[in-house]
């Protein structure tokens, strides 16, 4: 159907009260858009203002590189020591573990659902994976703490530690003793939590790959594996990176499940089996009983988390841009 030529009334042109629909909608949309920015701006502004005395007291750089965190209990003054490095390290390590475990799995799941699964299984499978996103994180935490980690993960971790700890260099990351809550435990459960996000988006992106190209590749005699690797994954690369970014965002900010599984020791270590601590987890853990000065320091961790999320995202975009140029594809 063709649209009505300009200057002539059509069935689509509103009359009477309908005239107000356009401006009303426009202003509603503008309000919504602006309010998102306003909320974000307010949040950054007020948290930074709250955290500023801590940065001044501890030193802005020192806050990020010092690994000594000793809460003070003053109501009016600063008496503690606030270095958040242990938490920053834990956050990054756990998020990295989660992405490394979740990304290949999510890609495999989405390829299976879109390309390989029998037609009548596709719907139920996709729903099941997305259902994982509906489970509250505290349930993941409890399940991980009381069931998954002691029953499944602990034997695996002990095996890994026994096998890899003696290896030079690599052994540092697998050195014992194996605690039942550690970076790897938190990262593994986190991987399950971000799996549905990455899968859902990758699946959509993979479904968008032009069927002509896929069929052309098959026509040239490519196998399933070659089609997936050379056509589908290459075409959907930018979208998959976007999906990974969303997953990473969730992994960096995830609080309760990580708090329950990471160990909560306010320290850091190179071993994957070290019971460490993470930024959001530490805020949630200690906020309740914190004295006013420590509350400000916890808000400063929140500001730090925001800064780190921005840095990680910018780095990821740069990486995609670079890979995109090398691959000759205008990714993102």
């Amino acid at each position: 159907m063709t649209s009505a030529p300009p200057g002539r009334a059509s069935a689509l042109q509103a009359t009477g009260a309908g005239r107000y629909a356009d401006p009303l909608f426009k202003w509603a949309a503008i309000t919504a858009g602006v309010s998102v920015l306003a909320v974000l701006g307010l949040m950054i502004g007020s948290t930074t203002a709250d955290a500023w005395p801590v940065f001044q007291y501890q030193g802005f750089v020192d806050f990020f590189v010092n690994d000594e965190w000793r809460a003070g209990f003053s109501r009016t003054d600063f008496t503690g020591e606030y270095g958040a490095f242990s938490f920053i390290f834990g956050t990054l390590v756990v998020a990295l573990i989660a992405i490394v475990l979740a990304l290949p799995l999510a890609l495999a799941v989405s390829l299976y659902i879109t390309r390989l699964a029998p037609r009548r299984m596709k719907g139920p499978l996709a729903y099941t994976v997305e259902l994982l996103a509906a489970v509250p994180s505290v349930v993941y935490g409890l399940w991980g703490l009381l069931y998954f980690v002691p029953t499944f993960l602990r034997p695996v971790m002990e095996l890994l530690s026994a096998a890899l700890a003696p290896v030079p260099l690599l052994g540092t990351f697998f050195a014992g003793p194996v605690y039942s809550t550690n970076y790897l435990a938190a990262g593994t459960v986190l991987a399950i939590m971000i799996l549905p996000i990455i899968t859902a988006i990758s699946r959509e992106v993979i479904a968008q790959v032009p069927p002509e190209q896929v069929q052309a590749a098959y026509g040239l005699g490519a196998t399933d594996w070659e089609v997936m690797r050379k056509i589908i994954l290459r075409r959907s690369f930018p979208g998959v990176v976007g999906a990974t970014m969303l997953g990473l965002g969730r992994a960096l900010g995830e609080t309760i499940a990580v708090a329950m599984l990471i160990g909560g020791s306010q320290r850091w270590g190179l071993s994957l089996f070290f019971g460490g601590d993470a930024m959001a987890a530490h805020i949630a853990n200690t906020f309740q009983d914190a004295a006013p000065e420590t509350v400000q320091a916890l808000i400063a961790i929140g500001v730090g988390l925001f800064i780190i999320t921005v840095i990680v995202n910018v780095l990821a975009r740069l990486l995609v841009w670079r890979i995109g140029r090398v691959a000759g594809d205008a990714a993102l």
């Binding site: 509603a28 000594e68 000793r70 039942s180 909560g264 320290r267 270590g269 309740q288």
Partner: protein, 377 residues
Amino acid sequence: MTAPIRAMLSMLVLALIATACAANGDAGDPTAAQEDDQQPAAAETDVDDDADRAPAAAASLDGAGATFPTPLFQDWIFEYEAEVNPEASINYQSIGSGGGIEQFLSQTVDFGSSERYLDDETLTEAQAARGCSAIQFPVVFGAVTIAFHDQEFDDLILDAETIAAIFQREITTFDDPAIAALNPDRDLPDADIIPVHRSDGSGTTSVFTVYLDHTADNWELGEGTEVQWPSGTLGGQGNEGVTAQIQQNPGGLGYVNQAYALENQLPTARVVNDDGNAIKAELENTTEAAEEAEIPGSFQFDILDIGGEGFPIAGTNWIFAWECGYDDDTAALLRDFWSWAVSEEGDSLALDLGYAPLGSALKDDVLAAVERINIQQ
């Protein structure tokens, strides 16, 4: 096409307006709604001003503070509202000891609760804030026990110095000479100790570290609701988190509330007290400890230097209230509820849940303090 869009649009606008209005209503003083509730109630009832001990007919109390006594407070409130005063409505929010003090000082609640007493500086601040003195009194005690992963360590004897060394990672195996010296009759294994502490800020940690800071000469981590634990220790979130860590890590050793250890039947240590007796944390030993402690009239005390049959690591829960500024019904309900809570009825509920009630000598002093609520009208 236009009709559905218009309908959707008007619904959207309506919804936006509705939320905006609702938000406006809520955004004001959060206590406004509660005051609205209280005012008519106060108007309807005519309780004599001097009827101090008579239960308030219909009033509501808001309290906030420590998490440690929450199960007990909930039981007390439930029982009190069901059996003693059906007209009363008491609401306790377990927001933590720090929050309890903050909320009390900013006067957003009728009573506060904490595992730390208010020191003189805070009391002065309180006086300035409300124009009359704050009252504080203890209502219940709880011991902090050392629990183990392995059943074989049940009744293992430890003293303050050994516990301090374990949590500072100076003693890392069970067959350490220091532990062996305290337990000459035991055959101790060469097993690693994994110390488990609270990862959240907690009154339990405060009780534990105040004890170590006071008693053990080798303790270097200070005291407070959170301290900087050394590498090689594990943190658990809440008593249940610590319990899970102890149960899952072979060699696990951690400190938990007595109530929790009893409930989960964890093997626990005997701790050497000031008289050199190795005491198991039983409820009577905790009350005994409270009676052993020197308690000043100001109720600013920590339970330390416990001898006799008293278990040495014990904490107290304080309630904070004011000498002025309540309306008559609220004040009457406050007095009635707290004097009921420390009565024999309240005591038996406390014992059921693994808390140690006040000793009889202390009880009279506490009741006298309760009577001072709203004394200045």
